[in-house]
Symmetry: C2
Subunit: 222 residues, 2 copies
Amino acid sequence: MSENESKEQKEKDMKIEKGNNTEEKILASAKRIFFQKGLKGARMQEIADDAEVNKAMLHYYFRSKERLFEKVFQDSIANVTPRVTEVFLEESVSFQVKIGRLVGLLVDLFAEEPFLSNFFANELARNPDKIFDLVLDIEGGAIGQIIPILNQQILEAIEVGKVKSTIRPAELMLNIFSLCLLPMLSKGLVQRTLGIDDNHMDRFMQKRKRTVTQFVLDAIRP
Amino acid sequence: MSENESKEQKEKDMKIEKGNNTEEKILASAKRIFFQKGLKGARMQEIADDAEVNKAMLHYYFRSKERLFEKVFQDSIANVTPRVTEVFLEESVSFQVKIGRLVGLLVDLFAEEPFLSNFFANELARNPDKIFDLVLDIEGGAIGQIIPILNQQILEAIEVGKVKSTIRPAELMLNIFSLCLLPMLSKGLVQRTLGIDDNHMDRFMQKRKRTVTQFVLDAIRP
DNA sequence: GTCTATATGGAGATAGAC
DNA sequence: GTCTATCTCCATATAGAC
């Protein structure tokens, strides 16, 4: 009895830490390694070591490196999109505030997962067609819904005079995404160029939530 | 006589096309392949094929893949930095116009060399320390001079009330670079997401020179 | 499901003739 | 300087015992 309870408790703790079963452990490690080193740079052995499982297990669960990669990629996208959608579907929040929340969300996201930005930039630029297909393949095209939603809300904001009429929706989205992603991408270089330590850099990035928001709001103000 | 002339003419033509000697041909091809596929993704054989030379030649001239890559990287940086410096050292041009020229220069640069942006983003995020050292190693630290120059000019513009006092130089540089680079990085995906053809995309990017400039100028206006 | 051992192929790099 | 042939290593992937 108490032995059983203790065992269950242990498994629960493990689940919080790095997944309760082999498959989840592999996915967690694959995510980390692929994010850091990219598809070509990552080694199956390294992923296996990180996950503390046998290398053969990777093939047992995911068949091939390519498939494992695709799974990791899709999971990542699927994790982000609902959070973005949520921000913009909330009623009774001004467009300006939504922009601020979107920026905060994106900055935090790329800060929490330092290599997610690499991941996007890399594979996205490498073969966009494949990425496009992978993205479309995610749970009923969740990401496909975001574009029209953002598009409509920007147009509405322009309509009621809250946003400059020369702003085009696609460009605004692109600009916001650029301002949030690239700094994380070049974090290491920026840090060394400015000659600041980790603490300063973290604060620099945190401040960017406000400054980028302000930058964008100033740029779109009529 | 006329035979010699014809031979020289032929060599001259080749030089324009892809370099007159093996070394230059290799560099040109290596640049293209590395830009597209990154350090790990590129194959020495592919570079050799593209350059129409024997694979052994790559090692003869550049010793190893790693060294070839570093050479390509340094050449690329060394090619960009003087053009940026030039914009900001020109006297009797307003700060606003300089911003416009910088944006135009960067957009064109990333448009002309579609994979330069990948290259930056990839290797830069991958191991910033190494990239930093490589950059410093270029012809007397040309890039090291740009940061202080930009820094000073932004501060001066703030001083005379042409730029918002809350703007911080490092962030402004980062923002401009982000707005110019990332869209090219995600060009393929953007194109497919918006469902537009190559012609439209090219025009979209050309227009961005003006819209990004406007975006930035609006954002920094006091 | 999990392990060990191994097959298989492909990559960077070099030797050595010309 | 340029070529062919080859070495060596290592990564993905699988076979097969447990």
